[in-house]
């Protein structure tokens, strides 16, 4: 009846974070370099690598939103805004100033962090459906800016971005295929974001987030500055999503207002919900699932010769079933015990 909290490990199969990192690093390196060392047909087709890169990008986005929707427990349907801001900042800087790509990531982060502050201020005292509207509207503002400002390329966006270089080597030339370099880069970034989340989660700051999630008034009464920590979470979250955006811009060699679409925001939010709020491995799983499943069903469509994409139907169904059967997400901590 009165359950103890199950202290499940944060990493896979009860392994420590270090071991999980090493195993996944070996896997990623294998995928990147295996085709360099044997002749003949590639083992890992470029298409698979593309999906892997997208998985890692999604995981990074989910880890970013996790600070708001996981640790703070607030709904945001506007995180595509930061994703887009990162991407556009990089695109603009690369196109018009020829700034170094790596620096443009930091400029994008700064932009996102600055713009996160007014969003946090606007959403300080609101919750639930009101917050959804605010965050959604926030993102729409940037979509319209992207469409209507001529230097940003209008609806077509900006294309022809140059691939970044690592010590003078094009990132696309690093591994066996042109995707490999991005895979390694994103793997490192996801690892850093996961490590960061994991350390913050159990710290004074993480407990402050937890207190705000549980009860704002009690949190205030316990000496927690709710405004400060809500803003902090938004800024961290914006920074992480912005990095994902910058990489996406370079990876796709283009940006378009589609980055700011509400579909993207909802997709990021579903990754967090499906993976399990507050769970780090859940974020990586949620991000990957939401990337792989559409591709799987797309190939089902091609094979079965269907005239429609079954994923579009199943996506909605999956969310409905998930919310009924396992509202805490795949790896989420159960929130409502039956006493």
């Amino acid at each position: 009846m009165k359950k103890l909290r199950i202290n499940s490990g944060e990493w896979l199969f009860g392994l420590s974070g270090r071991v999980t990192f090493l195993i996944s690093a070996i896997l990623i390196l294998f995928v990147c370099f295996v085709d360099k060392f044997h002749g003949g047909k590639a083992w890992i087709p470029s298409y698979t690598q593309h999906i892997l890169v997208t998985c890692l990008l999604s995981a990074l986005l989910a880890l970013g939103l996790n600070f708001i929707s996981g640790y703070l427990g607030q709904t945001s349907l506007g995180h595509a805004a930061f994703y887009g801001i990162g991407a556009y900042t990089t695109a603009v800087l690369l196109t018009y100033t020829g700034l170094n790509f790596w620096l443009s990531i930091f400029v994008g982060m700064l932009m996102s962090m600055l713009l996160a502050i007014p969003l946090a201020a606007a959403s300080l005292r609101v919750k639930g459906q009101f917050l959804v509207v605010i965050t959604y509207a926030f993102c729409e503002i940037f979509r319209y800016i992207a469409i209507n400002v001529p230097v940003l390329g209008g609806t077509g966006g900006m294309a022809g971005l140059k691939a970044p270089e690592v010590f003078g080597v094009r990132i696309t030339k690093l591994a066996a295929t042109n995707k490999g370099g991005y895979m390694i880069l994103l793997f490192l970034l996801v690892s850093v974001a996961a490590f960061f989340s994991w350390r913050v989660q159990r710290s004074r700051v993480g407990y402050a987030f937890a207190a705000i999630r549980e009860d704002e008034i009690a949190a205030e009464a316990m000496g927690i500055n709710v405004k400060y920590y809500k803003t902090l979470a938004m800024v961290i979250s914006a920074a992480i999503c912005s990095i994902a955006g910058s990489i996406q811009a370079a990876f796709a060699t283009m940006v378009s207002p589609e980055l700011f679409s509400s579909t993207k925001s909802i997709q990021i939010f579903s990754m967090v919900v499906i993976g399990g709020r507050m769970s780090i491995k859940g974020m990586i799983l949620g991000g990957s699932l939401m990337t792989i499943l559409p591709e799987v069903f797309h190939s089902v469509k091609d094979m079965a010769g269907l005239s429609f994409d079954p994923w579009n139907i199943l996506y909605g169904l999956l969310l409905v079933v998930m919310m009924r059967v396992r509202p805490q997400g795949i790896w989420g901590r159960k929130e409502k015990d039956e006493g």
């Binding site: 710290s203 949190a219 205030e220 009464a221 006493g339």
Partner: protein, 258 residues
């Protein structure tokens, strides 16, 4: 004088929930605030703890004007409260509830967490000490790994007190701590409050359980319709006709005693 209020008024539109209240408490004192439902007791708590700030008047705590201070700063100064409708961090463990309450006495930031600095490790160590100390104080240390909301009602109330202690307060505000408790739980609560008193904490107590108030309070303040209508020793207040009238209605005071 630990806490003093001068003509504190809190108005919601035209309604004065608190009207020109003068109140004070000395160090080591237990003061009870009583009054019918809706007489402005909890509003008064909200005003002095900074959750909502006074429309006019002044609140002075430890010689500092805290009228418009943020609640987290007031907690840092050494005032902490419990809530009438228990407000624990329900989905977290009992120990985590205490750790959160340590927030205002700790100073680590994100970078301490990321690099696991010495400061961070020291604080984790002192947290454990405090979890033990505070939970032992109210006698629920054996429940430290429970999810807070799964605790029996009486223990939830005690955890709220433990959580208050973890903020290292000098003034504790209890808002109907005995509400919904059975007689046995009430006795345990009285024991805890008296222990707090002997450990030199100052306590303000809002309570409806009159027997308890009369037993432990040194001074009783009576609120009605947002105003302070009486103040004095428990026996004095008990026999004050104005107080009896506010509780039982006009005419009841004619009989002398309640």
């Amino acid at each position: 004088m630990l806490l003093e209020t001068h003509k504190v008024t809190k108005a919601f539109g035209g309604l004065k929930a608190n009207s020109e209240i003068d109140f004070h408490i000395d160090e080591g004192e237990i003061v009870a605030i009583i009054g019918p439902n809706g007489s402005g007791k909890t509003t008064f708590y909200n005003v002095i703890t900074g959750i909502s700030s006074a429309t006019s008047g002044q609140v002075v705590f430890k010689g500092k004007d805290i009228t418009h201070m943020h609640p987290e700063k007031i907690t840092e100064l050494g005032m902490a409260r419990t809530f009438q409708n228990i407000r624990l961090f329900g989905n977290l463990t009992v120990a985590e509830n205490i750790v959160i309450a340590r927030h205002c006495r700790r100073h680590t930031g994100i970078w301490d967490a990321v690099v696991n600095s010495k400061r961070q490790r020291d604080e984790i160590a002192t947290n454990e000490e405090f979890v033990k100390k505070c939970l032992d104080y109210v006698g629920i240390y054996d429940k430290k790994d429970w999810i807070a909301k799964n605790l029996p009602y009486g223990m939830q109330r005690r955890l709220e007190i433990a959580r208050v202690l973890a903020t290292e307060p000098s003034l504790i505000l209890l808002d109907e701590p005995a509400a919904g408790m059975n007689p046995h739980e009430k006795d345990e609560l009285v024991e805890i409050i008296l222990r707090l008193k002997s450990d030199n904490y100052s306590i303000i107590l809002i309570e409806h359980a009159m027997r308890m108030v009369m037993n432990i309070a040194e001074r009783v303040v009576v609120f009605d319709h947002g105003q302070k209508i009486a103040e004095g020793k428990p026996e004095e207040v008990k026999n004050d006709p104005v107080v009896i009238e506010s509780y039982l209605g006009k005419g009841a005071s004619g009989n002398g005693t309640a």
